[in-house]
Symmetry: C2
């Protein structure tokens, strides 16, 4: 038995249904479903996505079965309508549309009026009694077919049309007479012959086959590939082709065509939303030549059709349990539904719609939760550009959308400038080649950050998301001349103090000021506004409370300082999954102490410097514990290589070399000091610091550092406990690759904790666990679990080492690997976890860890904790919690709920 490739719909029943989106595409499944439900759908058939796959496997040609089955369905359609393709008696006219599983702009979309040729156009003229209409249909068909099937640039046709209108001295298509249209048809045929060397195909079967194959081919055009990549759609799904009886919205004033939504897709308001044109075909509505009318007007123009449309779309919303985006045509007062699908929406609308639909009884809470794209929640947390202001401004370049939100400020080049200008109440935007920990004070006062280099997990990106600061990174077109105080971007120039704007959600860069409006949710979170006073914030938090009812995964936040912890709790974090103690070391009052510690010649000197650091660390932890009110706080001991705290080696080399060219006597002391410093920096220098002297290796070689940190943790904990608070510290050892490393560090933790607790006369419940971030740790997780009371996957580092991708350098490789032409990677593995490679190690770590310690608590604290697809993966892998940056806690909560719901569905489906 050969495979089935073609599915018929019409006359109240269809071979397919709404559950066959994979096979029939969204549009095809929708047409089948609407037919089955009894809606007025023009009959036709869908050629499945499997035919598309077969087309590619067969070297760009469909297997003969597809042709045969299409022939059968065409016959059925001809029988149903009483029309024949190519007949001069009663010609069948059809539309051909693409339709993949996921809606995909950029793919070939629609060809209308197929079946017209020099003969059938006359029949159409005769049967409609409207020769001008028939000729207009024909010239449109040649134009569409020429453009999308024969790949002739649109301009070639537009150019001829414009020329004709000029010679006819008219500006509107509608003013063209029959003779003009006949002339235009001849000209268009000439364009086709000139561009392709062949005549426009008069054989209607050939027209159909060519159109079908063009749809298949458009699956792999660059725009489609880009769209799939941006939206994480697999490249091997293929598209279906929908062939459908033409209905005409352009048969006079009792005909119309339009598109609409059952609710407002921008705001979510429960209003019938859309637009239409009378006497028009589909593309006229979006072409912008005539101004469409708001859909509510249709009630006045064609009241019965309008009533039927409202009725049908309401039924569809209840049927699909989601907001519908539909297309319709009215041919001489008779309504035809051409398409329906779940509507795209903004984050704001998604939340509002979900709550309304549940209240209206259209869907359950679970069903409502599933209608929201977790990533879209982010839109509610960031300032957005004023829509009108944005429309007027053109972006000059695009970088990576590293941290979402719109920002506008005056260009500054250094963190110090940013601080200085911000002190003068100026809004600034920090533009740098790359940022480093030294820049944090500047980043925190800037409206946003723009860098020329770095990837989605570069310093600027990570810190940007951590701070909730709009950031665009890796904008390669940006050429910075810091000394001259100038930048140039694709030929445009700007200087210090000029206005620059960025959209961290799209990566767009503007050399202009654009007004922004702040996020209501953030105003509530930061206490500037009451939740009761914000409808947006109220719905936002209500949705999250629904999510909490169903999710299994706990959600924590990565937070290093009390302010971040407060935000995290406001967003619903159930604990801190990662406190990076080194972030505290970069503070201005501490860096000199840290440097003193590093430059110490022996343990005694080092201990003295550490003793000075201790009160600062204790204060930090005290603040965190207070803020978290007994929720677990995972504190990671010192992680980064020590040279990150010191001046750069190459800068010292240059300074010394330059000093040497000057008067030696005068500079001798300074030179000697620099040389001593360089010597120490050289000693700490590493070729691959990411694989070097960092993580627990620091605590093992300098146990006094771990001792100080543990002392600070437990002194702070005892202080809180004595004040009557509860506190639950979890001490986490980073970069463990061998269980013996953990054992050695755990011994220090236990010893110092005991010492402090005895001295303070206080008992603190605590655990000691480890990061699983080195491949060897995942591979030997059974051994490590014998010592570890919890695991936390550090998926950033794990991805680095599993993929051999350095986070700091991977930008240019990723750009190339994600590029359409190369298609090595579908997604940035630092954004969304690589389930096959890194994920396999995560699964292995979970399995081995729990084999040695049943019930072992396991979390993840990499950047992936805030990525919905990754959260799904972690749920399936059996983790206990994810930890995300505070501003992504809400996303993680919703994604975790959806993962639970998916699991339930899968179980029911078993």
């Amino acid at each position: 038995m050969s495979a089935r490739y073609v599915y018929f719909f019409g006359n109240g029943k269809a071979d397919g249904s709404k559950d066959m989106k994979g096979l029939l595409g969204g549009k095809g499944a929708g047409l089948a479903e609407m037919t089955n439900v009894g809606l007025p759908v023009p009959p036709g058939f869908t050629i499945s996505t499997e035919a598309c796959t077969a087309y590619y496997e067969n070297g760009g040609k469909v297997p003969t079965e597809v042709d045969e089955q299409m022939e059968q369905s065409l016959n059925a359609l001809q029988a149903l309508t009483g029309q024949q393709l190519g007949s001069t008696e009663n010609p069948l006219l059809i539309s051909v549309r693409s339709g993949a599983k996921f809606s995909m702009p950029g793919m070939m979309d629609t060809i209308l009026n197929l079946g017209l040729n020099d003969a059938t156009v006359d029949t159409l003229a005769r049967k409609t009694g409207n020769r001008r209409f028939a000729l207009d249909c024909y010239r449109r068909f040649i134009q569409m077919f020429g453009n999308v099937v024969l790949e002739i640039p649109k301009e070639k046709f537009e150019h001829e049309l414009t020329a004709l209108k000029q010679s006819a001295r008219t500006k509107s298509d509608a003013d063209l007479q029959e003779s003009h249209l006949e002339e235009l048809i001849a000209t268009y045929k000439g364009v086709v012959n000139g561009e392709t060397g062949d005549d426009f195909p008069q054989d209607t079967s050939t027209q159909l086959r060519m159109a079908r194959d063009a749809v298949f081919k458009s699956w792999n055009n660059p725009r489609a590939i880009t769209y799939r990549k941006l939206n994480g759609i697999p490249h091997d799904l293929g598209t279906a082709v929908n062939v459908q009886l033409m209905v005409f919205g352009n048969m006079g004033e009792s005909s119309a065509t339009g598109v609409g939504f059952t609710r407002n897709p921008s705001t979510g308001e429960p209003e019938f939303y859309g637009e239409f044109l009378t006497n028009a075909q589909g593309e006229d509505v979006v072409a912008g030549i005539r101004t469409p009318m708001p859909i509510t007007k249709l009630g006045e123009v064609l009241p019965e059709a309008y009533k039927q449309l409202r009725d049908i779309t309401s039924r569809l919303e209840r049927h699909y349990k989601d907001v519908q985006d539909f297309e319709f045509t009215i041919q001489e007062k008779r309504l035809y539904m051409l398409q329906t699908r779940n509507g795209k929406r903004t984050g704001l609308a998604a939340v509002r719609m979900a709550i309304d639909m549940q209240r209206e009884g259209i869907c359950t809470k679970a069903e409502a939760l599933r209608t929201i794209d977790p990533a879209s929640l982010d839109q509610l947390l960031h300032p957005i550009f004023d829509i009108d202001a944005r429309k007027k401004t053109k972006s000059v370049a695009r970088g990576l959308p590293a941290s979402p939100g719109a920002a506008s400020g005056k260009l500054v080049f250094t963190a110090d400038e940013a601080v200085a200008w911000a002190g003068k109440k100026e809004k600034v935007l920090l533009v740098r080649s790359e940022t480093c920990p030294d820049d944090i004070h500047g980043m925190s006062v800037a409206q946003g950050v723009l860098t020329a280099t770095g990837g989605m997990t570069s310093h600027a990106a990570v810190v940007g998301r951590q701070m909730g600061k709009p950031s665009v990174v890796g904008c390669a077109a940006l050429k910075i001349d810091e000394k001259a105080g100038k930048v140039s971007v694709n030929g445009k120039k700007a200087k210090k103090g000029d206005w620059v704007s960025i959209d961290g959600s799209t990566g767009e860069v503007f050399l202009a000021k654009i007004a922004t409006t702040p996020s209501e949710v953030l105003q509530v979170v930061s206490g500037k506004k009451k939740k009761e006073d914000s409808e947006i914030a109220s719905t936002f938090f209500e949705i999250l409370s629904w999510a909490d009812e169903v999710r299994r995964l706990k959600v924590r936040a990565n937070a290093d300082i009390p302010r971040d912890a407060r935000v995290a709790v406001a967003f619903g974090a159930e604990g801190i999954g990662l406190c990076r103690t080194e972030h505290m070391f970069f503070a201005e009052d501490r860096l000199p102490l840290v440097q003193k510690m590093i430059l110490a010649d022996d343990p005694v000197e080092r201990r003295a410097a550490l003793d000075e650091l201790l009160p600062h660390q204790r204060e930090d932890f005290y603040g965190l514990f207070k803020e978290m009110k007994g929720r677990p706080v995972t504190i990671r001991t010192l992680d980064p290589p020590l040279h990150e705290f010191l001046p750069k080696r190459e800068d010292l080399m240059v300074k010394i070399a330059v000093l040497k060219t000057k008067d030696k006597k005068k500079n001798r002391k300074k030179l000697e000091k620099l040389q001593r410093l360089l010597q120490r920096v050289e000693e700490l220098h590493e070729f691959n610091p990411m694989l070097g002297h960092r993580g627990c290796r620091l605590g093992i070689t300098y146990p006094e550092i771990t001792e100080m940190q543990v002392r600070a943790i437990f002194e702070a904990a005892c202080q809180v406990a004595k004040e009557g608070g509860t506190v639950f510290p979890e001490v986490m050892i980073p970069l463990v690759s061998n269980v013996k490393e953990l054992r050695a560090q755990k011994e220090i933790v236990a010893r110092v904790a005991q010492e402090v607790m005895e001295k303070e006369g206080c008992t603190i419940e605590y655990t000691v666990g480890t990061m699983i971030e080195v491949p060897r740790a995942a591979v030997t997780a059974d051994q490590i679990a014998k010592e570890a009371q919890f695991f936390s996957f550090g998926t950033n580092d794990l991805t680095q080492m599993t993929y051999a991708f350095s986070r700091d350098d991977v930008g240019k490789i990723l750009t190339f690997y994600l590029d359409d032409k190369n298609k090595i990677l579908e997604r940035d593995p630092f954004q969304s976890i690589d389930t096959e490679g890194v994920g396999a190690l995560v699964r292995m770590g979970v399995e081995k860890g729990r084999s040695a310690r049943p019930g072992l608590k396991i979390g993840i604290c990499g950047e992936h904790g805030g990525d919905p697809a990754s959260v799904h993966f972690f749920h399936k892998a059996g983790l206990d919690y994810v930890s995300a940056s505070p501003y992504r806690v809400a996303i993680a909560r919703l994604a975790a709920a959806q993962a639970s719901l998916d699991e339930k569905t899968a179980r029911v489906g078993d």
Copy 2:
């Protein structure tokens, strides 16, 4: 039933046997076996290694069962001998010795005469009629017990002995009278009390328990730990304790004691070898106070005992099928065997002994092969120091023994100096902080290389082994002041031109000239000497031919140039497992072309530079193919990051900064050129180049590089084929982490190969495979195997990424991790494969790879290919071949044979 901890031997039968080395230690198993065989062994018992483990688990105390079982065995010994421990009638005197599974100098060894106290010493005097003898035994016992059990420094006793001899005006112990010895015993007791606060224990049971526990404790003394680490002995085996009836070689001139080997352990000659002393106890032979006599002299002094000894040791050699290292004592003409074990030997001796023993019918070829430590073969390949000259010179420091062999030369600091001086026929030794590819010309003319930094897989180490050049690296004590032309090492100084010597087999460094003798094997391999003229080389190659008869693993070599390939073939390599094409790029005539290629602004310019490189690469491959005569040649496409070929970034920055301080007009052009160069270097700069733009990522971003390399390979192959040669290239793609990378590169290989073959009218059989060196490749090996025709594990990189250890930086961490105090690692994972972590990924890669492509050919081409323990692992993991540096091919052949033999034994044992 409680565990058995104590094993008796005596009266012709023993509880243990030679196969119980793990439980009884080597010595205990030997004593049991000798007893069972009927040899004259003083009776006693062995306390097992499990008691040692229990001692540590029990917090440094043996479980009561051990005490109980020891008591029983002691009773049995007392019954057999009719003597009682502590009895003043007939006192039992015993020895207590340590004995682990593997012979371990550095552990507590022996206590003699235990059972003596103030009372029993009188009985011994009375019964032997020799009070001086009894007193001497007692003072020796106090001294030994005081030192090894009570941990009193030896010097404290020696000091008293010397003082006594001075006051007695004698220089020899033998001249001390009874009264002197009585005085000395009193003084020694005073030392014990003074040092420990307790009296010397008079209770003989206490003496025994304390001695036993001291043996257990000595298992973890620093020297023992160091020894285990250097020799790869696990730390958890534990030691056994042997308690044995004392026999006395110091009961007059008819008594004697001695040690010996059944063959000469230095040369392997079949001569009875050893030394003895009459009227002496064991330690006198090695103490160096009296000069022992060669053992053949024993035939004259005590002919019957000698004849019995020759007879027994010959039997033992046949019994154990290996050369024996034995200890004996003759008490009043009666021979007692105290110990026998397989003798340690030099590489030279091992080969000779194996061949002789097989010829003499003592063992089979398989058994003979197993007597040779593969690593010791290395000793035959390198110059060694003249033994006498070496003895006279003291080493000043010790680094890592990176590439074996002895070298002596005049100190030079740069590669250019090395070349200049070598041109003047001077022998030079290159001393640098670290080496880089620029130094290769200097390394190749130097006698040896010494560096201050870097680990066992640093550049100097890898290239040193590759070249067979003696190298010591990471000698931290070495302070280099290149500008002043001076070095200082632990307070000693040397300047340019001074003689320096290094021993690459031990890591020792000498500031002196030491004469060396060249390797005969190497002279044969390089064609300077005929094999027939060298007995050493003949035996060496005969052993290898035996190994070939049993091994399953194939052995290839890593070789980049024809000269290395020739050496590899001479050593028996069956192919080239890794040709690093980038090594060819560093040659003086090519580097400018490579730089031109890298600095190219666009693909056209880059292609032009590549076109110039093509003939050079083709020539290289032609030479390799010719040399390998149809054996497979695995060629890896370009691997290292491109900036390795460019000037260092920091050097350029310094140059530019300095130039800027000078007359600007004069230097403008130079400055601009440098700035342009720096800009490109900055673009290529990476924070972690090991995880950066290298490996197949180069070939994917610059496909023209891969195209050029493939063209060169196939043009060379066609040329050889046309000349009638056979050739089998295997193109290997490095750093693949995702199957799509391999697919993309494979497509280029196939296309260009086809092009070349068509043009040349030639068909070359070839395969395309990949390195498995990124953890993700191992994890997704099933996907990768669908595209790869072979796998080659790059265990250097795989270790780097699995462990998060940067090869270039790991030195200081490893020093710390391998240190006795920390015991995080037992072995350097870059030297011997980490079977638990990296090894698990290798096993996974093999399993998944073959699941997708049954019979997939799999090899390994990291540094581990020449490490015997790793070769065993690779054999077990089911690999097809290992590829080692040419100079380690012989070691790999023998190790592979032993792995096959072990497997057979294991199967028989099933």
